[in-house]
Amino acid sequence: MNLVYALTAGLLFAIGLYGLLARSELIHRLLAANVMSSAVFLYLILIATAPAGDPDPVPQAMVLTGIVIAVSLTAFALALLRYFQALNARRALEDEADGDD
């Protein structure tokens, strides 16, 4: 059973990383980053489970804190994204357009 969760976490991380690197639209990249953090959270929950007895509280506390941080970062990123789109009228960072001129 644990193996299934571990593989899921690995797969999610890979999907997220691919999205972050390969997509250009900013909202996609942001979502991809969120998928990546979910994968890490899943992995942390996985290592908290013990075969017998109580689960380990430390990784659970880490996930709780991590979720709070991920939510704040995402909220800020979304606000920044809206502002960016309002000013730029485009949805992706273009490397050439805002180069050092």
């Binding site: 890490v40 430390v58 941080i69 970062l73």
Partner: protein
């Protein structure tokens, strides 16, 4: 005299919580005057716990303190050694300087959102102090995120599409970096069940999981620190941010990631000492020094030069990994101190040039020496220290690094340090050449944007301090050695 440990507990608590509470106060109490006064008060007041903590460390060596008496793994522990102390001092001095500058500058900029800016700077300060004092991997993650969440918005204060694109790119890099770092923390916890740096034994961290953890953490922190191959966000973000914010980002925030890398590689992971790996990392550092310097030589804007110079100067941190000796340790810390002072001086002075010359295009600076003498002097003095000419602080840091590489029989790093210094001299003098050129047509002295005397004196004082560090090497060396992971082998300092 109280016990050093108790004294340290108080000092550490104050260093983290005073800026945090001050940020709330600045945000809640209206009035620019109040905000400015409070920031200065905090900056001056925090020197008291810093001095006391330094004395405690001098008496007792590196110190630990567990909040509320809850020790690891569930409790939060704080820790300080010579490196942490040096970074705390640097943070405080630079924030005092930046607040002095900002207070004076904001009087000329009534449209600028001063309250939010000051509150963010105070939060950033609290996060940085927390980062330098943290002693476990997860706590470091939290502090790193606080620093990110306050550093990225500072870039947005210069409005406009370019600033937003730069902030967005910075945020994406930082987001990816923090996820990688957290994955590393999770891997280490799964392997060892430990988080506190002091309890993580190097023997437990030799397996493949630990090596993977180190690899992903290094990648994540390199993104946050903008080390060479993943530096793309830094020049854009640092060049476009308001000058006081650029100064803090370059001098402190980027260094926080490098600081953590040094902590990990020379702390719990010190047993991973494969020569190829360490030499390779230092080679990446040198590539960063060369690439950053060459890019700095090609920039057409002053702030671009200064920002690329940060990419170059961050490369020196990686040289510590293969050298791994007390002299190199002291050299890198000294380099961090002088770079912090010099870089802040340069960005603040660049801010003055932009205000008065109307732009920071290098070719429009011709004749600037007539009305911008003070700011140009700050850039020149700071540049001399960056280039590492004796008798500046930059020279001492580089000299110790060179001494350490020769002592370790790795002369090629000494050559790279020399090349880095020469290139730094190149890009600084290029700026000065532009500024001292005869203007092609007589430019009237623009005076629509006033620069107050404080705004000139602050960068000049910082640049002088960066040079002055060249005379205090022997004095500071024992402090930097407190709790260093290397024994004193009777090296040069």
């Amino acid at each position: 005299m109280t016990e050093p440990a108790v004294l340290f507990a108080w000092c550490a608590t104050l260093l983290i919580f005073v800026p945090l509470l001050a940020a709330l106060a600045v945000y809640l109490v209206p009035g620019r005057r109040f905000g400015g006064a409070l920031c200065l008060l905090v900056a001056l007041g925090l020197f008291v716990p810093l001095v006391l903590a330094s004395h405690a460390l001098a008496d007792a060596g590196a110190l630990h303190f567990a909040f509320g008496g809850h020790t690891a793994p569930l409790g939060i522990e704080l820790f300080a050694d010579g490196l942490a102390l040096a970074m705390l001092w640097l943070t405080n001095v630079l924030l005092l300087a930046v607040h002095c500058y900002t207070n004076s500058w904001l009087r000329q900029a009534p449209a600028f959102r001063a309250t939010e800016f000051r509150a963010l700077v105070l939060l950033l300060w609290s996060g940085l102090n927390g980062l330098f004092l943290s002693a476990d991997l997860f706590n470091l993650y939290v502090m790193l995120e606080i620093v990110t969440l306050t550093a990225v918005p500072l870039v947005v204060f210069s409005r406009g599409p370019v600033a937003l694109a730069a902030a967005m790119r910075y945020l994406l890099f930082a987001l990816a970096g923090s996820i990688f770092y957290l994955l590393g923390v999770a891997l280490i916890y799964a392997e060892t069940g430990l988080l506190a740096l002091r309890t993580l034994s190097p023997e437990a961290l030799m397996g493949p999981a630990a090596v993977t953890a180190l690899a992903v953490m290094t990648a994540g922190l390199a993104m946050k620190a903008a080390l060479f191959p993943v530096h793309a966000w830094l020049p854009k973000a640092h060049a476009v941010a308001p000058s006081p914010a650029s100064a803090l980002l370059s001098a402190l925030v980027a260094k926080a990631g490098a600081y953590l890398l040094v902590r990990l590689w020379l702390g719990p992971f010190a047993t991973i000492d494969s020569a190829i790996l360490l030499q390779g990392l230092a080679a990446v550092g040198v590539a960063g020094i060369l690439y950053g310097s060459l890019q700095a030589l090609r920039q057409s804007r002053l702030k671009g030069v200064v920002a690329y110079s940060t990419v170059a100067q961050l490369g020196y941190f990686l040289l510590l990994l293969p050298l791994a000796s007390l002299v190199a340790w002291q050299g890198v810390i000294y380099h961090a101190l002088t770079h912090g002072l010099a870089k802040t001086a340069m960005f603040l002075a660049a801010g003055n040039l932009i205000r008065q010359a109307g732009s920071d295009q290098l070719d429009r600076l011709a004749g600037a020496d007539r009305f911008l003498g003070g700011s140009l002097m700050a850039i020149a003095l700071a540049g001399v220290s960056l280039a590492g000419l004796p008798p500046t602080g930059g020279f001492i840091g580089k000299w110790w690094l060179v001494a350490a590489s020769l002592e370790a029989g790795q002369w090629w790093w000494a050559l790279s340090i020399g090349a880095g210094g020469l290139l730094a001299a190149g890009y600084v003098f290029r700026v000065l050449r532009h500024a001292m050129q005869e203007p092609s047509e007589p430019t009237p002295v623009p005076d629509h944007e006033r620069v107050t005397p404080t705004m000139i004196w602050v960068p000049v004082a910082l640049a002088l301090a960066s040079i002055g560090l060249g005379f205090t090497g022997d004095l500071l060396a024992p402090w930097l050695a407190i709790g260093a992971p290397f024994a004193d082998t009777g090296g040069t300092p």
